[in-house]
Assembly symmetry: D3
Homo-oligomer: 239 residues x 6
């Protein structure tokens, strides 16, 4: 039995609150159970050097975790003087996922930076970052549209992400930290609003897995991201 | 006239919310107007190397600002690979201020780390960090007391801090970012619950200042920290 | 049509040469077409601090690329003072993949470090690193067995990896750099000798992809890693 | 009783020797007792990027300490790869203090860098750096005047600094290292030639302090900086 | 007696294989016994900032060692975050030696970077890097000549280098690692094709040495570099 | 003709002042014309980790240059976050040279660190550092002898160093910066008090050189270091 009586294919309570930062062009506090990730979208009118003059924009992401986001305090990356491999891996994944639904030409020579900062972590921070990051990105695009800085809408579809894993042989959706720690395999799936795949990452932790298990995990993820896509739409409308 | 009709000796709306992090031994979200600082206190059972075996504890602080805490996004210190001088200056000040009211012998060989992370910045982040950091520290001490890890209460008195400055010749309490940017001089005062001084920092920005002006600023700060001390007591009781 | 008349499900010419380094406990030069990765396995009799005294060993990997491994020279990471996110992501993947087939308890308190250095890169360096790294690891284990440093054989099965991708809508095995640059999606699969999955990573580059396409890529990878497993066995026997 | 029979309001023997470096546009070796700080002013014809084209100049400072300036050798910051928080705090203070008496518009688009290197440290190095740094700065300005690079004299008044503190309850001027180590509170005051305040920094070390004690320390500092201002004038004339 | 029956004035078996990298404008794998150094020459059409617009080119070198090039694995410099002093010393020497035979004006505003990566180390890696680096440089120049990017041939003569040392009082040529570890003094000589000296570095390790011994070492080096120059010419012709 | 009418084989005015730092166990301000290097010797009772328990000591050196030691200000290494290759090369040379005359077993498990800080630079800083560093080292040994911390005297002989070079074809001793900048070749020689060689470094800058020229430079250096050895003895006696 899962904590709080959750079914294997059930998300934790999810909330996506927008406009949580008064300066950012877009912002969203994504909460998946006890996992809280603050996402902001910052628009800059200069693109990275290698894109200059090419008439296209860029979307990139950074990720950080407050030292006491976790049960045991971890060292602050700024004071250690370098980001861990895990941090870099996550921020690359978030950036890639958001670019997959962005028409960079339509964006024009603008850069949107998505900052995802984990205030509290209980598993699934990278997928919460993608799901909340999309909302922040969409709000920033809406802002650009309102100030007439865009010719056409640059987001081709929505994108959401969820983790799942094999625990005691059972495929489960949206693992919390305790489940994740004991999982045989864990997975992160990123899907678009129209059900296509953007990114699949499945990793054997305690046991290798079969093709059938991969498909079972994907089925769970498809269900989860469908629900998340609906919540994203509500959050964007609510504003 | 100040924004929102504030009087020169009036604080912005201040709130100190406790228990905002489920893992930390103590936590407080300090809000001074639009300035929001999340403070956590983490207890560790090992002291820095140079204190080992000396029978006394340590209190230290770290400070960070989310990239989009400010109107213009700033680079993430973790990705730049070093903390700025400003960050280091602030975290040294916060640590010193909290140690000034801590009996390190009474604490025993424990270290309490106070992490102050600015979610949104509108002036006065370092003084909010001290004021909220004290609440987090006190809660961590209460936790230690509850689990019988302390022989005696280690905090000798309370401590709170506030900024003030000379704006257009007028001494003002609790400057917001816009006031701070145009101030002739700005000051940070740290005072104990019994009205003594812990730290005085006054800096000429656009004009030097006189002894009389220094005293006027101090009078404002005394009033402000008295109010803050009351709010700290309420926050600690509320729990 | 692919370069050199390759069929979509055909590997490039692959060679796995062992004993290419006179000092390492195990070594393998893995060549996949023009991609050349030198893999060495170094045995150390001390494990990382967090494992000390636990009676189990560790396998870890590092990855590097010579500056002129690529068509355009890239800056040396040692002179830039930090490893890129890509490098860290790859070395974490290689380490995870090799640990998935290692019984760390059977290894005892030893650490084996796999260094994978890319002498020349034409796509697929990370999968070549895993495939060659396994050979180096197995040789180091054999060395440990010969000197009676192991009670039982610590490798539970073999492991090999291959990249594939969607190019012009067609699923293709073992992409070279040119194909990879133009692929709609690219994938890396890590499989064990008995056909189980260790790691699945599929990324949309120019277009999202469907579940059917994911399965088509997996089928290619299964064929490719079966061939690679046979080559690994030959390489290990040849010695 | 203080070392060498000093009265509580008495400076240590102070000397300010100019022209101690044959390359710098201005230089001064400031000696306060056994504290020796070598200050050079270097004129550069380019300002920091954010000031370019604005028609105003900049004054900045850097601070360093030779490894054996102190009783116990400290590690060289260059070999540790980062400046300590203390170093950064001091160099920011020195720069701010000197800019407070500089009309940056009158300077024109030039930058003057003040390097303050502590050859030997016996307390009060930062205030010696400000006091000597001003002399170096003034000499560099005189040099610029002589070569007709200035339209008007850019220094609005002089500036000097001194430390003081509470030792055994007694306010004392110009603490040496031993006094500083045992002080209840220590303070640094920066004053202009006409008696205004530029910076006030008072820190409780072993005990908090009262407003009356703050004023007593300020009175000492006012006396000390008046004497230092006279010595600065002599040094500048002597040349 | 030396290993493998070598005479005191005898080189180890040396091979210089060219075109070992398909991307570099010039490349050479230099093997001196078990010492293997992979040298590539990369042509770039931009010179360092301080040379821009001066009409002359630049030749520079970088040096690295694979972690398991040596008997005991050494930490990867990229993961340690800085190059050792030894690495920097060597790459400066290689760059200087190659520039000594290059007419930088004849090269025009091009930069040639020589990367020397040690795949396996058994003493004499820096001299192998110079010897092989020259071959890679000459091939890159030939490539530039073939594509008509050079008005005149920029190499004024050849250059080769060899180590030697005093072992048990006996001057020996081309020390391997074991000899080097026990040598009283070791030396690196860099000579041009016409017998002139480019660089002399002799270091007392276990005993100081006399002028006569210096001359004996130089005589050995002269013999060795004459042989190496012949091998370089053969390698360049063979292509 | 050389500046100030110097003959080709004449040193600049040299002074070696001892006891210039009140904390260091040994200290010497070495002045060669306008080159001023402050050398301190610091005794520590712990050796580097790899020597622990081996019953022998260590001598090491660090080198730094104040930012305005030179005609054009250079960036502070501590603020750039890394030491240059030049700095590391020099400090390795100084350490090696001093260890060549130290019986590390006689020293016992102590470490002596020699800090050489260039206050003003006009050529020849590394040789001044060795020459002055030896005096500081000898004074520290004398101090250890006086406090009975040494069983036997650990310095086997003296050591001094000097630069020389070929300028306009003429071999010259002790180049100043201007001569050094235009030299065809420059050299640093380190010799013991009894005339043996410790280190020879000769580098072609604008032209390669012959064996005869190498010997001419060595003859100059021998004369120069003989004079320096006498000055070192006087400095040590004077105390």
């Amino acid at each position: 039995m899962r904590a709080a009586g959750r079914r294997p294919d059930e998300l934790r309570p999810v909330s996506l609150d927008v406009d949580v930062n008064r300066y950012a062009e877009g912002s969203c506090l994504a909460r998946f159970g006890h996992t809280h990730v603050l996402c902001t979208a910052s628009v800059e009118d200069r693109v990275p050097g290698w894109l200059k003059g090419g008439g296209q924009g860029w979307v990139t992401a950074e990720y950080g975790m407050l030292p006491r986001a976790t049960d045991q305090r971890t060292d602050r990356e700024a004071s250690r003087g370098r980001q861990t491999g895990r941090t870099q891996e996550i921020q690359r994944l978030v950036g890639r996922s958001l670019r997959a639904v962005t028409d960079l030409k339509a964006l024009g020579e603008l850069q949107i930076r998505i900052d995802c900062d984990v205030l509290q972590a209980d598993g699934g921070t990278r997928t919460a970052a993608i799901t909340g990051g999309y909302v922040a990105l969409a709000m920033a695009c809406r802002h650009l549209q309102e100030i007439k800085a865009l010719a056409t809408w640059p987001l081709t579809t929505g994108v959401a992400a969820i983790s799942c894993g094999l625990v005691g042989g059972e495929p489960r959706l949206d693992l919390d930290y305790e489940e994740d720690s004991g999982a045989e395999a864990d997975a992160n799936f990123v899907l678009t609003g129209d059900g296509n795949l953007v990114e699949v990452q499945v990793t054997a932790e305690r046991a290798t897995f079969s093709e059938a298990q991969l498909l079972a995990l994907l089925a769970l993820a498809r269900k989860g991201t469908t629900d998340l896509a609906a919540l994203q739409q509500q959050a964007l409308k609510r504003r």
